[in-house]
């Protein structure tokens, strides 16, 4: 659709600009300000250049947290994307079941994040939780508060439980938007179910799946509340991800300079990753669908 060229449209955008200044630009500038200064007391700081950046980039604990974060995000993406698509394909397409399934699916998304943590904290406990007790009954020695592996698995399962519905809902919306004529043509050609999926459904879902992948990547990379409630980042540092590390640095130890420097690095990492994902998927689509 051609748009009317008119610079006066900025007046319509102005309220957003003002609000975003208050809620994003000013805070972000504060962070930048801190990241290059050593603040001894309020109003008394001196310029230290890139010292905090250098210090934070050589911090062993940060490297650990970053590794865990990348591994975690990759793991949940690899589970959630295929699972979400599979669920979307299996969902009913008509009848009363559609509404019921959609409402049930969306339920985990509407639960406050710390309550998600609480639910799993209870559910996975060996003594009072159904899930933990069931695993124990199978003869496995499972305890997420003591074993790093168990804690890790529990956090991944919780994340899958919490966010797979988002991927499923998006994929489902994409599937519903495919006109019936495509399927009829495939039937006439005698296409197999796999061919229908590979050459009709998957390309048509590309747009929504891009959004799903980006949202899931960003949010899993910022995960804080759920593991904080479930494991508190432990045992040891086993489930300490970047946000936890940052919060500990900023609020726990009050290391403003390094925390601010790290904030900027953190933000940039997410931006760069998202940009790369976006470009890769766009490029893929241009190559495949035309």
């Amino acid at each position: 659709m051609e748009k009317w060229p008119d610079n006066k449209a900025w007046f319509l955008v102005l309220p957003v600009v003002v609000l975003v200044c208050f809620s994003a630009i000013i805070p972000l500038m504060t962070v930048v300000n801190y990241s290059v200064q050593d603040i001894l007391q309020p109003g008394m700081g001196f310029f230290v250049g890139t010292e905090w950046f250098e210090r934070i980039l050589h911090d062993e604990r940060l490297h650990g947290a970053l590794q865990r974060q990348v591994l975690f995000s990759l793991t949940v993406l690899l589970i959630e994307m295929p699972l979400g698509i599979a669920i979307a394909l299996a969902l009913p397409t008509r009848g009363w079941g559609v509404s019921a399934c959609l409402v049930l699916l969306a339920l985990p998304l509407l639960i406050p994040w710390n309550v998600v943590g609480t639910i799993w904290q209870i559910f996975a406990r060996g003594d009072i939780g159904l899930g933990g007790a069931a695993v124990k009954a199978l003869g496995l020695n499972y305890n997420y508060t003591a074993s790093a592996t168990d804690a890790w698995i529990t956090v991944v399962i919780m994340e899958v439980w919490h966010w797979t519905p988002l991927v499923a809902l998006l994929a489902y919306a994409g599937l519903r938007a495919i006109p019936d004529a495509f399927y009829q043509a495939a039937r006439i050609d005698g296409a197999s179910a796999w061919a229908v999926f590979r050459y009709i459904q998957l390309p048509k879902m590309r747009g929504v799946l891009t959004i799903a992948l980006l949202l899931r990547f960003m949010d899993s990379f910022m995960i804080y509340t759920e593991p904080f409630v479930l494991t508190g980042g432990g045992p040891g540092n086993a489930t300490t991800f970047l946000s936890q590390f940052l919060t500990r640095l900023a609020v726990g130890q009050f290391d403003l300079g390094p925390a601010a420097a790290f904030s900027i690095v953190y933000f940039l990492i997410i931006l760069v990753f998202s940009w790369v994902f976006y470009q890769a998927l766009e490029g893929m689509g241009k190559g495949a669908s035309k």
Partner: protein
């Protein structure tokens, strides 16, 4: 046969989805002795005591009221600023529009943990700490970009001829916007409101940092079940169940548009 297998797999997934929730509800109806005693699939001595405590104790129910207050405020603010902006993006091309649009989305990518400290200082300066409006404004960080994106998607679906006809008929812009255009994108507004509600409702990190007593969200109140005597599991579970109820209610209203909203209006 193949279809059966598919349904079975879907059924299994829903069991996985619902089991933790079932367990939460189950626990909320038990007295603590039973929770800590034997595992029982159904409460043996059904009690509503945990719920009664929440509804009669002001410490508890004000938490819910606080949450609902700032969530509603946030939804109203987000919609009010996002509607004209989304209209501008969907109808006009202007200097820097694409860059600004993309830059808005980057705000959605900002980890709340990054904004923790600057928000605290900024709102302290304005004396806004521990007010509902502070949390509502802070949540605009991610809700305004989201609202603009979703609304823009819905507005693009409205043919531009409608605008042109209305202007020829002598409608002024505000009159056209309020009486013709807004009713056309009712569904979009509903979905956007739902998403603002949702993301503001589930967020805790910022909400907890910016409040102490007066505007404390329910999710933060829940931490008080931990005391010297251990954790009051039944009460914690009941409070958890009650935080799910508002969400479940609003899902029901937008169930048919939800998926489109998740796709930012771009299906």
């Amino acid at each position: 046969m193949k279809v059966r297998k598919r349904t079975l797999a879907l059924g299994l997934y829903f069991v996985f989805l619902l089991l933790p929730l079932y367990w939460l509800v189950n626990m909320s109806l038990k007295p603590n002795e039973e929770i800590l005693g034997e595992l029982t699939l159904l409460p043996q001595n059904v009690t509503f005591e945990n719920y009664v405590t929440i509804f009669t104790n002001a410490d508890w129910y004000t938490g819910y009221l606080n949450s609902i207050t700032y969530v509603s405020l946030n939804t109203i603010i987000s919609l009010a600023v996002a509607l004209p902006a989304a209209y501008a993006f969907s109808r006009y091309s202007f200097v820097g529009d694409k860059h600004f649009f993309f830059w808005l989305l980057t705000n959605r990518m900002a980890p709340p943990a990054v904004f923790l400290l600057p928000f605290f200082q900024l709102y302290s300066t304005f004396g806004l700490i521990d007010t509902h409006i502070a949390v509502a404004l802070a949540h605009c960080l991610f809700n305004v970009p989201l609202a603009v994106w979703i609304l823009e998607g819905f507005m693009r679906g409205v043919p531009r001829e409608i605008d042109e006809t209305a202007y020829i008929d002598g409608y002024s812009f505000p009159l056209f916007f309020a009486t013709v255009f807004l009713p056309l994108i009712r569904a979009g507004i509903g979905v956007t409101a739902f998403f603002c509600f949702m993301f503001s409702w589930v967020e805790l990190l910022l909400a907890r940092t910016l409040t102490t007593v007066e505007a404390k969200p329910i999710a933060a109140t829940m931490t008080r079940t931990v005391s010297a005597a251990g954790i009051d599991w039944g009460l914690l579970a009941a409070a958890g169940v009650l935080t799910i109820v508002p969400g479940a209610l609003v899902i029901w209203f937008v169930r048919n548009y939800m998926a489109k909203g998740f796709a930012l209006g771009r299906v």
